[in-house]
Amino acid sequence: MFKTAGGLVALATVLLLAPSASAQPIEIEHAQGTTTLDAVPQSVMVTDWAAFDNLDALGIEVIEGVPASATPPYLAGRVPADAQAIGSLQEPDIEGIAAADPDLVIVASRSRTSYPMLSGIAPTIDLTVDNHDLIAGVEANITRLGAIFDREERAGELVAALDAKVEEARAAAEGKGTGLVIVTNAGRLGVYGPGSRVAWIYDALGVPSVFDDVDDSDHGGDAISFEYLLETNPDWLFVVDRDAGVGGEGAARALLDNDLIHETGFWQNDRIIYLDPAAAYVTMHGYSGLMVLLDQVIAGYEDAS
């Protein structure tokens, strides 16, 4: 009897200890190697808004450092008031991070070159996403963060919700014709093609593009003229309004409102979808941002039909 009781106690002890099993060191594989964490991080510094977006979506509230600039408006209310500003998106404040001594630092696309430096200061992971398979990359990051912070279940829900939203957008776009993603900036136009930060519109949603090769070698996309839009005449135009992203509201619409564009089908049929500039241009690999964009795409297709 006592033996059994002792056995039960032992079993109960094991069961009680089980949740803290994740306090065992865990190894995280990421874009620049493998990082070992001794326990669930209690203080995190992110050098990238997409990483913040994903942590926020997972409900993780131990973020103590965020980028100093370019806060996406859709995230602004979520940033802890006492979060430390740790440098620009491209150049994290290495000294500030070192002084704060966080349990985990997250770098990503824009800040990835500071990985060697930061990984010598604190456990650091690189969550850079390959734009050629953007949705899968974002989901892998959510799963990875879920494992680190012991939120596997929530991560699973987010991945499922994202998959469902992509499927919904895919269905909305199906059979609706070709599309083209452009960026407007200071009165000029650029096209975004495969491998760009918005390539998922072509890859994941299956929107047929109007071109075969766009080399998105610089951030603004390839420079094009209004004639390019007139001649390629996509059925749908997706616009990343870089000017609106910095406060010039509706700048892209004013820019497109001209005699040449009035000739195009997408203008005449009102098939222009203005994407959230911050989500498309700044975060692009964040869960909430992607959901915002997907909702805009779905709404755009549904409103027009």
């Binding site: 600039s69 370019a70 620009s88 900036n185 200071a186 009165g187 000029r188 136009l189 096209v191 766009v214 951030h219 603004g220 390839d222 420079a223 094009i224 003229s225 209004f226 004639e227 390019y228 007139l230 001649e231 870089r242 000017d243 992203g245 910095v246 406060g247 010039g248 001209n258 005699d259 040449l260 000739e263």
Partner: protein, 317 residues
Amino acid sequence: MGVVVALTMMLAVASLFVGISDVSLSTLFGAGAHDRAMRVLLVSRIPRTAAILLAGSALAIAGLVMQIIVRNRFVEPSTAGTTESASLGFLVVTIFAPGWPLMAKMLVAAVFAFAGTALFLRILRFVPLRDVMLVPLVGIMLGGVIGAVTTFFAYRFDLLPSVLAWTIGDFSGVLRGRYELLWFGLAATILAYVAADRFTVAGLGRDVTTSLGLNYKAVMTFGLALVAVISSVTLVSVGSIPFLGLIVPNVVSLMVGDNMRITVPWVAALGALFVLLCDIVGRIVRYPYEIPIGVTVGVVGSAIFLYLLLRARGSRG
């Protein structure tokens, strides 16, 4: 001169037929003529070609006027802080009064360009011996400082990509209704021609100018104003086109000498021709995408700039 003008005219006509839309004599006037080709011609092609001719000639003239005022062959708006100042002005007005009409923004940019160039002239007073190499270096350093201020504020206000877009000259966005400010450049060019003799005299120095009965300060201020207006209208309309104002007047000087009455038409025509050529190349090389004019002119221009600098050093032994 006749050859240059004829060549420019020929290229200008050719420029009307380079682009993505099908614009040719047959689509314009042929049997199956449709009004789309004509519309593209009127809305897109003619404005673009006009913008190129206006910006090219005006910027080259701005360089010529600056070189005479400063009495140094190696200055022009982009090597004297003028372009950077105009850019800063445009940024300031974009931040504080984004809703102002383009004309008002351009005026603010012009005021900044004027102030920046005046500052450059003031600094030059302290440059010993007016070393031929030192003058453009001082200008480039001043431009660097002003550019750093611009970058700082652009960064704080998340406007860096916009500033980058202004600073790279690009005609791809030119359409009817979006380049007309450049006609001010033509006005400035004509004024430069009218005042050519005064500038030539002022180029001889304060003492000579004053003894010939001219108001030296007034001539200088007028020259500065012309340069500021040209720099700011081109910056606001199409962006900055580096080195143009430097190489064209120098090449003309090698060809026909330094009498401004003679050189102004040459500089204007060659400036237009050079930009026209670079823009056509930029439109063709990566068709259907474009290479911004700032890049093509920058590549060719910096090579010629280096050649001119080394040549000057060589001739001084």
